[in-house]
Amino acid sequence: MSTKLKETTKVFSYILPVWSLWYLGVLLIIYIISHIFSNEAMSSFFGFTFTANRTYMLVVGIIVMIGFLEWAIGMGVSRKTFFKSVVLTGIITMVMITAIAGIVSSILSFTPFSGDYLFEEDLRYLSETVYVIFHFLSGLLLWAAGLLISASFMRGFWAGMLSVLSGILAITLLLFSEQLLNYLSTLDGMMVYLGLLLMIILIVIYNWILYAVIKNIPIKIR
């Protein structure tokens, strides 16, 4: 890993955890309030964060590209290094928020806010491990989609609008993958891994498009 990649990733890995802790804190408050006022059965905090995490990754992806690309180039960081750095940052952030949500959920299991089940019921066919891996991968997909949306808008309005469509497509594919995985898990254990492989391929495709968009992206002086 080059020094610049290390330093840039380090800077992002310092900023994003702060944002992520705020996000998880707010989510925890919402979860506890929902628990108090809801009469229906609820998932654990770990399961509760899953859908929200995807939205969070999408939004933060958009913000990171808009807020930091100009800064990075100004600091003498190439677009290629910036790209590698944001991909690594996405992985680190997903690991972090998943781990923290898991730890908080474990602590809550000793309280009245433990939840009635771990995940949403319509994913009952997936094993817990597979679902956590799926959740992790889906976060990375939406992170790439978020970065792609803002990078495309920096390229121009129509490119941006096109990327919004690709973001919607990513979410649709994600919902499809969720159901596909659920279905595959009823067939055969190995088929689930095929489903996860498809997710990885999807992430690679989105990141490849993202790199193509930012490779020669012009920075307009504001």
Binding site: K4, E7, S78, I221, R222
Partner: protein, 292 residues
């Protein structure tokens, strides 16, 4: 160390922004990049700083391509005033302290010394500073970076007169100046001409001239005196600008004076003084004259 710009073009969509730009910039010099609004100064600087890719041509530092080259990009520092800094949450101190993260040569102590010189409170947030103070922080960051290529694009905009004067003296006294290429893009020519070793003048996306300041200013002179005597003196000469101050006429002339002509001027009580860069700039970049 040489920064080479070879036959560079920049097209944005269908617009030709820069055409066939070729320059060689050498260390130890302060370059004044002059041009009217829309001449292409910021576009050229954006290319040097890798903010944009050239459409044609190449930019190299010591033979190494600048664009998308981490090892070279870290030696180029492009400073400009951000129009809206309201979103900045960092303090001035944090800005200076983060300098060495990406720039190995960054001198933090020098940065803090410059802040003191510019009378900037380092504990304040960037967003709470006035436009002029933000510009001064930018100036301090640029000078303290000790970057081999340090570019200031209209960085004095918003600074008050005393701060501008301080900036000019700090540029002249910049640390490691002899090993750096400093480029100053500006509109305030009259105040800054004494800083420049070389002048690069741009017009309509092209290089109009690139010469040493001394040689450039030797290319002409101004004649001041009674209107009819000045007119008679400059009658057959290449006058690029005429100004009147009451009964006085001041002509700016391109060309050199012979000893004989100097004697005539003295006999006619005409004042001869060196060419003013600003007048030359205005004359050379006057589109209306071009049309005529």
């Amino acid at each position: 160390m040489t920064l080479s710009i070879e036959h560079v073009d920049l097209n944005i969509k269908k617009d030709k922004i820069l055409t066939d730009i070729s320059l060689e910039l050498e260390q130890g010099k302060i370059y004044g990049l002059l041009g009217r609004n829309g001449a292409g100064k910021s576009s050229l600087l954006s290319l040097i700083a890798s903010y944009r890719k050239t459409t044609n041509g190449k930019i190299t530092l010591d033979g190494k391509t600048v664009y998308e080259n981490d090892a070279v990009m870290k030696h180029i520092n492009f400073l400009y005033n951000v129009k809206d800094a309201s979103g900045e949450t960092d303090t001035v101190k944090e800005y200076i302290e983060s300098g060495p993260i990406y720039r190995d040569d960054f001198d933090t102590d020098y940065g803090f010394t410059l802040l003191k010189t510019f009378d900037i409170d380092k504990d304040k947030k960037i967003s709470s500073l006035s436009q002029g103070q933000q510009a001064a922080v930018n100036a301090a960051l640029g000078l303290a970076s000790l970057s081999k290529v340090t570019i200031f694009d209209e960085v004095t905009n918003g600074m008050d007169a005393p701060t501008r004067e301080l900036f000019y003296s700090e540029v002249l006294a910049a640390k490691d100046r002899e090993e750096r290429i400093i480029i100053l893009s500006t509109h305030i020519i009259s105040e800054m001409e004494h800083l420049f070793d070389d002048i690069i003048m741009m017009h309509n996306g092209k290089i109009l001239l690139h010469e040493s300041t001394d040689e450039l200013l030797e290319k002409g002179y101004t004649v001041a005196g009674k209107a009819e005597r000045v007119r008679a003196f400059t009658d057959s000469k290449h006058v690029i600008n005429v100004k009147f101050l009451g009964a006085l006429q001041i002509d700016t002339v391109l060309g050199k004076l012979s000893y004989e002509e100097m004697d005539i001027a003295a006999d006619d009580n005409l004042d001869i003084s060196p060419l003013k860069l600003q007048e030359m700039f205005i004359s050379l970049t006057n589109s209306k004259k071009e049309e005529v």
